[in-house]
C-alpha cells in the first residue's frame, strides 16, 4: 500500500458507521457455520422465504438460510446477470423474478459470492411476499429432493379477520409437527417463548434504529438500513441479533448527540419504496448524497418490524399468524399507500422515490396508484425509477440519472 492510499478523508471517516465491521463479522460467521458440514455442526438447514416465520426454526436449532438474502448478496456483488443468464439457458423466462432465477441457477453451479448456499434439509415457503415463491420452492424441492412446507397467508386487501387467523394458525401447527418429524425431537414450547421474546425485542430495536432518522440530520440513510437489515431477517429471534441491534442503536444515538448526519448538508428528506437496486447501491447513494438528499425511510427494511404491533409477546405462537399475514406486501394498495403516507408524515419527507422493480410484481403493481394517492393526500412530489433488484440488464444509468436530477430540480 502506498502512502497516498493510506490517507483517508476525515470527513468521510467521521460519517462511517462503526458497526459495519461487526455485522460483517457476524454474517460471515453465520454463513460459515451454515456451510460447515452437518456432521460437524449437527444442525439441519432450512431454506426459508424472506417473510416466513423463522422463529420455530431457531427453537429447533435449525439454521435458517434465505435465498433472497443471498439474492441480495449476488446482486450487490454484481453476479446477478451471469446467474440470470444461466437460468435462462436452463429454460426459465427472463420475465421471472431475478432472485428466483439467480437462486435456481446458483444451486446448479454453486454460484454467487460464497460459492452457493448449503444444501437444504427442508424448504419453508410462505406466500405472504409473493406467489412466485410457490413455484420457485417447488423447483428447489424437486432438485434437492427435500420436504417443502407451504404456509399460505390470505391477502389482507382491507382487513384481517378471525377466519384468516384460524386458517393460518392451523398451518403453524402443521409446520411445528413437520419440524418435529424432520428433526426427530419434540418442539420445545418453553424455548419458543424465549425465542419469541427475542424476536419481539429484535424487531423493537430495529424499529427504534429506523426511527433515529426522524432526527435532523438523520444519522443514517435507508442505504445503511439496507445493509444492517441482514440480521433482523436471518437471525430474528436470537440473542445475537438483539445484542447487535442494541449496539447499533447506541451508535445511532451517539451520532445524533454529536450531530453527525450521514449526508453532509441534509437538504431534502425522501422515502424509498421497493427492494433496493442491489448492484447500484453505492451509485444511488452517492447520487442522492450529491444532491444533499437523504433517504430517511423505506417500505422495505421496515417490513421486518412493521407488523410487530400485532404480536403478543406473551402468546407468540398465538399471535404469529396475524403478524405474518398482515405484512406490507400482503396488503391492498390502499393500505400500502396509507403506510407510505404515514412514513412521509412521521419522517417529515419532502418526496417519495419509487423503484418500479421488474422482478417484484406484488411490490410494483400498485405504485402508480400509490403515487396518485400521495399526490392527492399529501401533495408531495414522487419519482419513479425503472430497474430490477438483481438483474443489471434492466438498469439504464442515464435514464435513471436524468430522472433523479430532474426530480431534485423540481424540489428546489
Amino acid at each position: 500500500m502506498t502512502t497516498m492510499e493510506k490517507i483517508k478523508d476525515p470527513e468521510k471517516e467521521k460519517r462511517k458507521i462503526k458497526s459495519d465491521k461487526k455485522i460483517r463479522a457476524i454474517m460471515t460467521a453465520y454463513y460459515m457455520e451454515a456451510k460447515t458440514p452437518k456432521e460437524i455442526t449437527g444442525k439441519k438447514i432450512a431454506w426459508i422465504t424472506s417473510g416466513g416465520p423463522v422463529e420455530p426454526l431457531h427453537v429447533m436449532d435449525v439454521i435458517p438460510i434465505y435465498p433472497e438474502n443471498y439474492g441480495a448478496m449476488i446482486g450487490a456483488s454484481k453476479m446477478g446477470v451471469g446467474l440470470c443468464e444461466k437460468s435462462e439457458q436452463m429454460g426459465y423466462s427472463s420475465d421471472l423474478c431475478s432472485y428466483a432465477r439467480a437462486d435456481i441457477a446458483s444451486a446448479i453451479v454453486n454460484g454467487g459470492p460464497i460459492g452457493g448456499l448449503p444444501a437444504p434439509d427442508m424448504l419453508i415457503c410462505c406466500n405472504n411476499i409473493c406467489g412466485t415463491v410457490l413455484k420457485w420452492y417447488e423447483v428447489q424441492a424437486r432438485y434437492f429432493n427435500v420436504p417443502l412446507f407451504i404456509l399460505d397467508t390470505p391477502i389482507c386487501h382491507t382487513e384481517f379477520n378471525p377466519d384468516m387467523k384460524r386458517y393460518v394458525t392451523a398451518q403453524i401447527k402443521e409446520y411445528i409437527a413437520l419440524l418435529e418429524k424432520i428433526c426427530g425431537k419434540p418442539f420445545d414450547y418453553d424455548r419458543m417463548k424465549e425465542v419469541g421474546r427475542l424476536s419481539v425485542q429484535g424487531q423493537r430495536l430495529w424499529q427504534e434504529i429506523l426511527d433515529t432518522t426522524m432526527n435532523r440530520p438523520a444519522p443514517m440513510t435507508c442505504f445503511d438500513a439496507f445493509f444492517h437489515l441482514a440480521m433482523i431477517v436471518t437471525l430474528r429471534g436470537t440473542q445475537i441479533a438483539v445484542d447487535y441491534y442494541e449496539s447499533l442503536l447506541q451508535e445511532m444515538k451517539e451520532r445524533i448527540a454529536q450531530g453527525i448526519g450521514m449526508i453532509a448538508e441534509e437538504k431534502y428528506r425522501l422515502v424509498w419504496d421497493n427492494i433496493p437496486v442491489w448492484y447500484r447501491l453505492r451509485w444511488l447513494s452517492d447520487k442522492f448524497a450529491a444532491h444533499s438528499a437523504c433517504l430517511v425511510a423505506d417500505t422495505y427494511t421496515s417490513g421486518w418490524c412493521g407488523t410487530m404491533k400485532y404480536l403478543d409477546e406473551n402468546d407468540f405462537l398465538g399471535s404469529l399468524a396475524e403478524m405474518y399475514t398482515r405484512i406490507f406486501l400482503n396488503t391492498g394498495t390502499d393500505i400500502m399507500a396509507d403506510n407510505i403516507i404515514e412514513m412521509v408524515e412521521k419522517y417529515e419527507a419532502d418526496g417519495v422515490v419509487f423503484h418500479s422493480n421488474r422482478s417484484c410484481k406484488p411490490y410494483s403493481l400498485g405504485q402508480y396508484d400509490i403515487q396518485r394517492l400521495i399526490k392527492e393526500k399529501v401533495g408531495i412530489p414522487t419519482l419513479m425509477i425503472e430497474a430490477d433488484m438483481t438483474d443489471e440488464r434492466s438498469f439504464s444509468e442515464s435514464q435513471v440519472e436524468t430522472r433523479i436530477d430532474a426530480f431534485i430540480e423540481m424540489l428546489q
Binding site: S356, Y368, K375, P381, M384, E386, S394, S396, S398, Q399, T402, R403, D405, A406, E409, M410
Partner: protein, 255 residues
C-alpha cells in the same frame, strides 16, 4: 447580459443564445459519436452566426443526455427543467409539455411560472421516440422529413400494437408484405406513438394548453395523432427542437 444554452441530445445537439430575455438565435447539428465535440461545435457555430465571441457569453447551461460532458458549461440542468423554462418563454399560456426527442419522451406539467410540477418519462425503451421513427422510415424507405405529410393522406390507419421498436418494425414489414398502403402504415406508427404518450400524460394528469417540443414535434403526423388522442389542440413553436437549449440559456441568465 448574454447567456447560452447547449442541449446535447442522443441524435442532435442544439445551442441557443439569449440576451436580456430575448432570443438572439438557435442552431441544431447532428450529435454524432462525440457528445462533447458536438456541444462545442454547435456553440461555435451559433457564435459565428451571430458574430459573437465566447468572451461575451456571461454564462452557459448544458442540458440533454450529454449535459455532464460539456465541461465549458457553468452548470448542468436536466432537459425536463429546461423544456419547462423554454416552453413558458415561447408561450406563457402553456401548462403542459410533451417532449419527444431522439431516445426518450416526456410529459411535463408546469405551473404559470414555468416550474415543473410533475413529469413522466418513457421506460428504458426507445419505442415512440425519434429513433423509433428513424427505424420505421428506413423500413418503409421513406425520407423521415416526408413522414408527417404522407401520414395525412392515410385513408385507413394501420394498427401497430407492439411496444417494442424491433417488434414494431417486424409488424411494419409484415404490413408492407400484406400490401398495406405506406401512408396508412405511417399513420399507424404515429397513432401508436400518440397512444404511448397519452398513457404517460394521463398518468401525471397533463393540463391544456399543451405544447409539443423536441425534434419529433416537426412531424405533423405525430402532432395530429396526439391532438386526436388527447382531444386538445397542440401548440408547436418554430423552435420546438431548440426549446431545451433556449430554456437552458434562460436558466443561465438566472443563476
Amino acid at each position: 447580459m448574454i447567456t447560452a444554452g447547449i442541449d446535447v441530445g442522443s441524435i442532435s445537439a442544439k445551442a441557443a443564445i439569449i440576451e436580456d430575455n430575448k432570443l438572439l438565435g438557435a442552431r441544431v447539428i447532428l450529435t454524432g459519436y462525440n457528445a462533447q465535440n458536438a456541444g462545442r461545435q454547435v456553440f461555435d457555430q451559433i457564435l459565428s452566426e451571430l458574430d459573437l465571441t465566447a468572451s461575451r457569453i456571461k454564462r452557459i447551461v448544458a442540458t440533454g443526455y450529454g449535459r455532464n460532458s460539456i465541461q465549458f458549461a457553468d452548470k448542468a440542468v436536466t432537459e425536463i427543467t429546461c423544456h419547462a423554462a423554454g416552453g413558458i418563454f415561447l408561450n406563457p399560456a402553456i401548462r403542459s409539455i410533451i417532449d419527444i426527442g431522439g431516445q426518450d419522451s416526456k410529459a411535463i406539467v408546469i405551473d404559470k411560472n414555468g416550474r415543473v410540477q410533475n413529469f413522466s418519462m418513457n421506460d428504458k425503451c426507445a419505442a415512440g421516440t425519434g429513433r423509433f421513427l428513424e427505424v420505421m422510415a428506413r423500413a418503409l424507405e421513406v425520407d423521415l422529413d416526408a413522414f408527417g405529410e404522407l401520414s395525412l393522406h392515410a385513408d385507413n390507419t394501420a394498427s401497430i400494437s407492439s411496444l417494442c421498436t424491433v417488434f414494431a418494425e417486424s409488424e411494419v414489414i409484415s404490413l408492407i408484405s400484406k400490401g398495406a398502403k405506406r401512408e396508412n402504415i405511417i399513420a399507424g406508427i404515429h397513432a401508436s406513438i400518440a397512444s404511448r404518450i397519452m398513457a404517460m400524460g394521463e398518468r401525471i394528469g397533463i393540463i391544456p394548453p399543451v405544447m409539443m417540443t423536441g425534434g419529433v414535434a416537426k412531424n405533423i403526423g405525430v402532432v395530429k395523432a396526439l391532438e386526436e388522442k388527447l382531444n386538445t389542440p397542440i401548440i408547436v413553436s418554430e423552435y420546438a427542437q431548440e426549446n431545451g437549449a433556449i430554456g437552458a440559456a434562460l436558466i443561465a441568465s438566472k443563476i
